[in-house]
Symmetry: C2
Subunit: 385 residues, 2 copies
């Protein structure tokens, strides 16, 4: 087994990018990552995308991406795990390098949502859940999140305002990230003046349509040392699943996929939670942000919102979280999101995070959820020297 | 690196299975494979499926399949490479065992097409090709195959009747395969009495809608020897891509993805083409069957049809090909097809192929194509003792 490093990263701005196609987005982010690494060839490409088959009528993305980038001929693997597709692509690529199958691997996450209507996207997002037992009820993703929010407030006696603070924090950081979708600051009052999308969840608590692509290059750490930039080591990468149906889980407010993936990742990295300097977690809604911090083991169940209110997740807080705006602020281009998180942690580790730079970052963690927790991925990156 | 073995296989009948859902198909084939191997737990599952997102509104198949089978919690990876999705799932699973990441791996290929109309499926099949430059013209997969057929006949001066013999042979073998979709014998006259689906391609030269699932279990060869059945070794597994756009290839009648994947596979297996006893190849239409045999290196370019006419691909011929009916006869449930091919080669190697058993099979090869050759996979299995 070899030690694995990230040697190049790149991404597009996230937003409603009307003038860019799926292919344009891929080429932009992958070219930036290749330039960043200072290399011009790769052995294999892993592609993470969630909904191109529905939203762009485009399957077979592995071969398409390889060709777009001028790498036709190489093996190309396209994976899908709902909105954790990018993280799954990274995980598979990591194993390919770690276990010695490939030396230079490109990971591309991409999603193009804004060419479709909100109705089309809402329906497409429900393909992440079971069609026979969940989607047929007509519930939306926001609807499921709203139920979790209500249940959480009820069970732990937590105020909605405290949970909603997750979004206020997200916009604060996104406002200083040039790649973010939402650079405006919001206040609690703004959230509670915004429409209820599914009672009690407010519009400003949830992500929306976004286009974007993020890419990175992996290679063995030993090789990485010969390249121009400081290599960032992948200390761990793990994935796990949970019961597919929320209603069949013992505790709907705990995503066992996250719990298991985190356990495995901390064990693999031989690192404790105290050593984590920055976290990028899956706040596709405020409540999912809170649940995620708890399931990752950073805070006790039921105390996640309070942890945020106490200022722990700010850039100079105890656990700087979603430092470039998270899914809510940077934006959530589904299959690209997991790779964005990794790119952002690499920036933090390299000291390239601009106005959002956290001081003395040695270790960072990313966490992505597929569907409502049926899949989760946890990665730990570090520059321990 | 470890040697890898197939220790259990299973599949459903292929056909229009109105009373079975996508999940029913998965459970049936996976349960058979687990029973065949005599095991009841796995470390990870790889899922190959092409079009569930469009045809069943179902994404996130990795987690869904893990849960359906009672394996919730384990890592689950869903991959897609058009109609080679099952082969890609196998390839990724093979690497996981070979390089030591996992010990007991389940591979599931599944597709459910017949609940949708032919028009819906025709449109969905075109998601395998580029939307901006190919699909927008309105051409269908059968249309592309028809152009290749016409070009091939013209370039090599080959009679349509000779190429069409591929389908006659397919039905002959399928007639004796209890899992096959088409168990009727057809004659050349039947083909040329069937409608032209895209000039000059006839209805009986092309695959149609099919439902089905095939599964297999991989583990290290050393572990396999402790299980109840004769282990079948995976001697090689490789994939490659080609230019995504047919019109940008130097030679439209040669799929470089196949050529490259075959080269790599023969090198990895340290085996020559003479040693191959059975071949399962990608005859989604008669012309693709012919081109595939040539690209795999079994026969000179332009001579593939003649090779079939001379009787070489029959059960007792020089190179028994598509011994259980191939895509045309057994049926082509897209994402499941690659796994069906592997299951069938395992049957041949174990001597379990019934009336279609080839004598003294020591080595078998499978070949699957994604889209019109933008992706290809070649696997070599053997029981060399």
């Amino acid at each position: 087994m070899r030690r694995v490093a990230v040697v190049g990263v790149g991404c597009t701005k996230v937003g409603e990018l009307w003038d860019k196609s799926l292919k344009d987005l891929v080429v932009e982010s992958a070219t930036k990552a290749l330039d960043d690494a200072g290399i011009d060839n790769i052995d294999v490409v892993y592609v993470g995308n969630a909904l191109a088959q529905i939203l762009q009528n485009q399957s077979n993305l592995g071969s398409l991406v390889a060709d777009c980038l001028g790498f036709e001929g190489i093996p190309a693997i396209s994976v899908e795990a709902a909105d954790a597709s990018g993280s799954l692509a990274f995980h598979e690529a990591y194993k390919a390098v770690k276990f010695g199958w490939a030396d230079k691997v490109l990971v591309v996450g991409v999603e193009k949502m804004s060419d479709s209507s909100s109705e089309e996207v809402s329906k497409a997002l429900m393909t992440f859940e079971d069609q026979d037992y969940v989607a047929f009820t007509g519930i939306t993703q926001a609807g499921i999140h709203a139920l979790l929010l209500k249940f959480y407030m009820e069970k732990f006696g937590v105020k909605h305002e405290d949970i909603a603070m997750f979004a206020v924090e997200a916009h604060k950081k996104a406002s200083k990230n040039p790649y973010a979708q939402f650079r405006n600051l919001i206040k609690l009052e703004d959230i509670f003046r915004s429409p209820v999308v599914a009672d009690p969840l407010r519009l400003l608590e949830h992500t929306t349509l976004a286009d974007g692509s993020a890419s990175l290059i992996l290679c063995p750490l030993e090789e990485a040392k010969k390249l121009k930039l400081q290599p960032i080591e992948v200390l761990a990468s793990s994935t796990a699943t949970d019961r597919f149906f929320l209603h069949e889980r013992a505790d709907m407010l705990t995503f066992n996929s996250t719990v298991k993936a985190a356990e495995k990742a901390f064990k693999e990295a031989k690192i404790s939670r105290d050593q984590i300097d920055v976290v990028e977690t899956h706040d596709s809604s405020t409540i999912l942000g809170v649940i995620s911090l708890e399931d990752l083991g950073f805070v006790e169940k039921g105390k996640g919102a309070n942890f945020v209110v106490e200022g722990n997740i700010t850039i100079d807080g105890r656990l700087p979280t979603n430092t470039m705006g998270g899914l809510k602020g940077r934006g959530h281009p589904l299959g690209a999101t997991g790779v964005y998180q990794l790119v952002e942690v690499v920036w933090q580790l390299r000291g390239e995070a601009g106005e959002n730079q956290v001081k003395n970052v040695k270790v960072g963690l990313t966490h992505t959820v597929g569907g409502v927790g049926s899949f989760a991925s946890v990665n730990i990156l570090g520059c321990l020297g």
